[in-house]
């Protein structure tokens, strides 16, 4: 019997992007990253696809984390995309 994959379809419908970064006042939400390269209270480096994302700030703290999602709290100053 073939699986219908309802959950995957719904996710694809709601998140039609492979990955995204959402920035609020003092919170940063990263969806679907590949690897967490560096983590400190002033700098976080993530690998998303073939790019590196550099997040700079102060008092950065991981508040929630799954294998592919990250929620960071703190004073965020800069988010930069770099080629690998």
């Amino acid at each position: 019997m073939k699986n219908l994959h309802f959950k995957s379809y719904m996710e694809n419908f709601l998140y039609d992007l492979n990955n995204f970064i959402t920035i609020y006042d003092d919170t940063l939400h990263v969806f679907n990253f590949n690897k967490l390269n560096k983590l400190s209270d002033t700098e976080i480096i993530l690998k998303i696809g073939f790019k590196l994302v550099l997040i700079e700030g102060k008092n950065l703290r991981v508040s929630k984390m799954t294998k592919q999602e990250l929620l960071i709290n703190g004073d965020i100053f800069k988010v930069e995309f770099k080629n690998e």
């Binding site: 967490l36 560096k38 983590l39 400190s40 209270d41 703290r61 991981v62 508040s63 929630k64 984390m65 799954t66 294998k67």
Partner: protein
Amino acid sequence: MNKIVWVKIKNKRYYNTLIKLNEIGITLYETKKDKDYLLIKTSLKDYQRIKKYLVSYEVEIYDSSGFLKIKELFKKYLVFILSSILSIVILMLANLMVFKIDIKSNKESIRELLKEELKKYGLKVGTLKHNHKDIEVIVQNILEDNKDTLEWLEIKYDGLIMVVNVTEKTIFNNEDEKDECDIVSKKDAKILSMNLYRGVALKEVNDYVLKGETLISGAITHNEEVKNTTCASGEVYGEVWYKAKIEVPFLENYIEYTNKNRYNLSININDKEYAIFKSRLEHKKISKTVLYKLNDFQINFLKEKEYKESTRVLTQNEAMNKGINLAIEKVNLRLGKNEEIITKKVLKKEVNDSTIYLEIFIVTKENIGVVKEGIGGLNNDANTSRKNNE
């Protein structure tokens, strides 16, 4: 259902630990950073994975919820819980047991007899309490077995103490009847009533008698000849006169309660009482309520009522009434059963600057008969009495 736990990881390198947790795919719902610890909220499944993969880290469950928490608490306080349950069981068992047997009798022989009887029916210190029906049967059996000695018996439980109330059977000793005795007057009086049980009455109602005069003789006579002797028995009530002299000061001390109340607790250990809190009232009246009692140990609730001492000046009438009441109280102390004050009168009253002096005449009804061993003065007393009556 995935159980959520707070996990404590001992590691000062907070960010490195988080990277490692991400690498092994741990989901974190919340994180907290301490000086030497990293606290993470994760699933129990992930906790087991952390323990499996990060072997060099000191990892332990810091807090949990639901059944896991209960299980953990139970493990932690196992000794306390078990000892509490054991204490309750011991207390319940102790409550069902007898720790002391209190036999209310002045006679050593009765106490010994009852001890033996109770032992025979399994009522002894350290045994379980019997139910009401069993006790009733035991009481009946003991009374039946000792019907010559015991009149009435009651067994009841007061906490851990078994209280045995007993009334001894009064046996009228026939030997007493063989003794020779008279009933003589113990006071100067006028006879008001006479109940004669044994012997010959030598006086009649309304006769005046002096102290020591024979009222009922133990000598049974016929034609002025003593035929037999007995121990005279009877009750003779007479009118007795007292003259009370009393001096009452006009200045009287009295106590007045303020509305200040204080509460305290005290414990009694081995007949000594210790107050828990220090009392701040100088003059106080204490009323005590027993909260808990176990053998010689007792916890009491104390209510302290503050009072102050004052003085007042009595009027002449108030002082006189006080004097009369004092005299009545004093005479009442001497009176027994069926005895009473018939009348009272102030004979003399002298008022000074600070006191009132009173002479009070009090008439009482008293049992004036007293047993005197041996028989004597039968004819003389009887003759005198008859002459007086004439």
